[in-house]
Amino acid sequence: MTATDVTTVDQAVEAATLRAALSTRTRPPRPGPLSASLTFGWRAIRKIRHVPMQLFDVTMFPIMFTLIFTFLFGGALAGSPREYLQVLLPGILVMTVTMITVYTGMALNTDIHKGVFDRFRSLPIWRPAVLAGMMLADAARYTMAAAVVIALGIVLGFRPGGGPLGVVAAVALLIVFSSSLSWIWSSIGMKMQTPETVMQMSMTVLFPLTFASNVFVDPDTMPGWLQAFVKVNPISHVTTACRELMHGSIETGAIGWVLLWSAGLTVVFAPLTLRLYRAER
């Protein structure tokens, strides 16, 4: 972008057109909460369309994780990569999607420090719509990442016994959990000064949660204190629930635990985020 470029497109203000534009004092009825949320969702999708590179981390990381872990640990842990993949894939799915939730907080943090947020706050709209729209767009990202992981898994030999229905159910449950989890990062995003601090804080929480779980290995060989942690870790519950749904064998109450965790996270962090959002900065 050069200065000459700017001047060629920089036209004059049209006084007559401006007067005409101002003479219409149309004031349409306010949009409902759903319509406003969908408009903010449209905003987020548009941004992705302008800078598709934003999708790099929701497509490339899942591919990298799946390939690395399958071939690195598969033979050692389960006899063959293909056999390991049946157990690992639902876990990798949970890991990639929950990692992506961090971007919700980062995006929100970037947004609120810009002037455009002031404009949104000064509009006569249902205020949580900004957040709801963001979550809608995030759900689209989660779905996309999940599709990438599952497609790659199937190419590598993942055969879900639960069929397409089981896979869809697992993804749906994961999106519910991830959306609830993202409220934590949203409330952190409201409070922190820079997106980088949001990222660091979220990763500090997520990393131990993901690795100290049953995503990669059976917890039976872990020391007792770690086993105790893995057992209550919500990431383990989600992983178990996804495995059960995808393989069509529901044996534990994991799904119930996931829904309970989701409800708990939402009940605590959604109101907190909204309070921070309303609070003046």
Binding site: V13, H50, V116, S122, P124
Partner: protein
């Protein structure tokens, strides 16, 4: 007289800092009201309270007849804010910015597109409409910003330092836009650090310093409160300067200063009618006056005489903290 804005003892504190320290304002509907002050004087904080983005610590304000705290939602429906930092979305195109706001204001898909096209045309942004705002120049960004504020023509528009950082051409464009807006019936409250901007646009001006209004009136009233301006006389013949000095001193009753120009004299503090007599006396005494000018004090001088410090030199960061 209908008041668009009415505030009583408006106060906003951030911790120990009293950013706004008891402001009483009355802004007539249909006028341009200028709030003039240096950085950190409390201008932005005041505007953010009136636009319902901040809650006042004390005092009250009514905007277009509605309380800014109790009826914040109604106020939001009637006013628009163009913030100090361009409140546009850089990662969207100009057109998408306007469509986004039109949709959020309740336009359905078709009319939102039409309204956006109309505004882009009016603000000279049609050619750049489908480019990302991050590629826009400062002036284009500011115009899009103001266009975003009038997607629904507001009854009251807040403009926070609308021309800060703009080149002279873009500044003139923004001034034209403000004049057209006001002619179309919108009340404008603008803040500025530029004395000539307030002078050019505002019907009434409040000068604010350390969160308090230290003077309010029309530009002429503010200037008059500091005293009349100086008379500059330039003579045809420099040799007649001593004679002219004597004549003027006698008629005007003020001290006459000699300018660095050997043919020029300056008389400060004389009333306009005495000056008229003085000029006639010069003619009677056979002294040829080449040119004369009756200057008004600049708002800079007004600010200096009211605050004891010049408008520009103050450097505080309260506004940033707000």
């Amino acid at each position: 007289m209908t008041l668009a804005i009415e505030t009583e003892g408006l106060v906003k504190t951030f911790g120990e800092t009293r950013a706004v320290d008891g402001i009483d304002l009355g802004v007539k509907a249909g006028s341009v009201f200028g709030v003039l002050g240096p950085n950190g004087a409390g201008k932005t904080t005041t505007i953010r309270m009136l636009a319902t983005l901040l809650q006042p610590t004390a005092g009250s304000a009514r905007v277009l007849g509605h309380d800014i705290v109790g009826e914040a939602d109604i106020v939001r429906g009637l006013v628009s804010l163009t913030g100090q930092f361009a409140s546009v979305d850089e990662e969207l195109t100009g057109r998408e910015n306007l469509i986004l706001l039109a949709r959020l204001l309740g336009f359905s898909r078709g009319p939102a597109g039409e309204r956006s096209a109309e505004l882009l045309e009016a603000f000279g942004l049609t050619e750049a409409a489908d480019r990302l705002v991050s590629t826009y120049s400062g002036g284009m960004r500011r115009r899009l910003d103001i266009a975003s504020s009038i997607v629904v023509t507001p009854d009251l528009l807040f403009l926070d330092e609308p021309t800060t950082g703009l080149d002279p051409r873009s500044r003139n464009q923004v001034w034209d836009i403000v004049r057209i807006l006001v002619a179309a019936g919108t009340t404008v409250l603008l803040t500025t650090q530029y004395l000539d901007e307030a002078d050019q646009l505002a019907d009434r001006i409040a000068i604010i310093d350390h969160g308090r209004i230290i003077a309010e009136g029309t530009s002429a009233e503010l200037k008059a409160s500091v005293g009349t301006g100086a008379l500059h006389v330039r003579l045809h013949d420099p040799g007649a300067r001593a004679e002219a000095e004597r004549v003027l001193a006698a008629t005007l009753g003020v001290t006459i200063e000699r300018d660095t120009d050997p043919a020029a004299l300056i008389a400060r503090g004389a009333t306009p009618d005495r000056i008229a007599v003085g000029l006639a006396e010069l003619v009677n005494a056979g002294i040829t006056v080449e040119e004369f000018a009756l200057g008004q004090p600049s708002l800079d001088e007004v600010f200096l005489s009211l605050t004891g410090h010049p408008a520009e030199t103050e450097d505080e960061t309260e506004e940033d903290a707000a």
